[in-house]
Symmetry: C2
Subunit: 209 residues, 2 copies
DNA sequence: AATTAGTTGTTATTTATTTCACATTTGTTT
DNA sequence: AAACAAATGTGAAATAAATAACAACTAATT
């Protein structure tokens, strides 16, 4: 079975989140155009994505919500749990720890790290903060495969290198320093300033019209 | 002059950030392949983007760093300042306020909002927090054109509607509730869970190989 | 049971984005 | 000053992503 395009993965993640809401409201079936409407994309796009999952609707009733959630999970989630660590417990890291914790059953936040002695041993939403020097040890003992980087820019490269050295498989980088990792490590970078500048640009453009 | 593709805008934003670093290090010229290397993209991509700016290098010396920063600014930035408000001063909103404040001279964080009475009047990095009820008034008096939404999911739609009603021109939404805004309002949505799930998916895929 | 209407799955098409390939330009070397 | 080298700018090609178009299917209606 082929690896899905990144764009499709993003949308599947969103579909699932919306579908879980619908399930809470006891919605049993949903049409492609309804799901599309919620996410603000086209119905064809939805159908195309679901096609890639090889999942079919019940004709004239739509897609069964619960089963669709299940199928998306089968495709996106690892069978075993994937363990995540967050490195840098400042403003953003702390916000993320509480936000991400428990949000997906298969993605566990299992460790936090900081070099600040004051934060050592601290717990956020029940997850312990370790000194950065124990990175390697904890990654091994807790089988961490994904690292989220929220340290100051100046430390980003150092931290990434350490993660890679200790066998991490994926990195989500929130600093605005572009990282350079081996091709067997999945990398996702996100920069909030870029998002803000993008909105600002399109606002400017629309006003010039 | 045509509106740039969103992808190009994103990269220009990144180029500028890197170029500003280079300027600090007194680098005067840079080749397309050097900039490409830093951002981890191809040199052609860099040249194509700069081509869209109509900006030329000095042959065999590269692109003059300072002038390039200037040209990117002319294209991305509004001539006048663009004023930004952040709505929802919880973990993420607070982190963002201190992060975004002052990061681009033309993008000013001028107001923060929260419904929590305890936060009223509070200042973060010198910016005042107003009660949500004063949204309309403050947007007008401070000429806010961009709103950043960091309220709980349940309030996201309500807040967006209020922003639109009060004439906001652009919204950056960090909740994972998809928003529905009129087409004259620029919308940028970002969901950290999606990023994390994406990394997790590609980690899983790479391990199945 | 025939007709209608609504929705899907998929192929074809279009549009957007990236990469290739190379002629062109100009500093440097011989 | 000729040959070379390094980089650029860009048209053409390739790739990726989104949209359109529609035949096929079936639940509901007559
Ligand atoms: N605050 C935001 O909203 C925001 C948004 C986008 C990006 N960022 C980026 O995220 C990063 C963190 O932002 P922040 O506002 O949380 O900063 P912060 O200064 O509040 O937090 C950084 C934390 O990292 C710790 N740290 C420093 N070096 C470390 C190391 N080598 N190993 C482990 N921990 C280390 C510090 O002790 C501190 O607790 C920055 O690079 C920033 O550019 C922040
Ligand atoms: N924490 C994160 O790292 C993170 C990451 C991604 C997305 N998010 C999303 O961002 C949002 C905020 O996250 P958070 O962790 O900061 O939550 P939070 O609960 O810490 O903060 C929310 C703040 O919004 C205020 N608020 C509530 N209703 C409001 C209204 N109508 N107008 C103005 N203010 C209002 C609350 O008083 C509170 O201060 C959530 O929707 C969350 O899903 C958070």
């Amino acid at each position: 079975m082929d690896t899905l395009p990144g764009k499709t993965v993003e949308r599947l993640s969103q579909y699932r989140r919306r579908l879980l809401n619908l399930l809470d409201d006891n919605v049993e079936y949903i049409f492609s155009h309804e799901l599309a409407e919620i996410i603000q994309i086209s119905a064809v796009q939805v159908r195309r994505d679901l096609m890639l999952l090889g999942f079919s609707s019940v004709h004239r009733k739509g897609y069964p919500v619960e089963m669709l959630i299940e199928v998306i999970g089968q495709r996106l989630d690892d069978e075993k749990e994937q363990n995540v660590a967050i490195i840098g417990m400042g403003n953003l890291g702390t916000a993320l720890a509480s936000y991400l914790n428990g949000i997906r059953p298969k993605l566990k936040i299992v460790a936090l790290f900081d070099i600040d002695k004051k934060k050592e041993g601290m717990e956020i939403v029940g997850v312990k903060c370790y000194p950065f020097s124990e990175l390697g040890k904890v990654i091994k003992s807790k089988r961490v495969s994904i690292g989220v980087i929220t340290v100051p820019q100046t430390s980003a490269k150092k931290v990434a290198a350490q993660l890679v050295k200790n066998g991490i498989k994926g990195i989500l980088n929130f600093t605005h320093i572009p990282l350079n990792v081996p091709s067997n490590v999945s990398l996702e970078e996100y920069d909030m300033i870029t998002s803000l500048e993008k909105v600002a640009y399109f606002v400017k453009e629309s006003q010039e019209k």
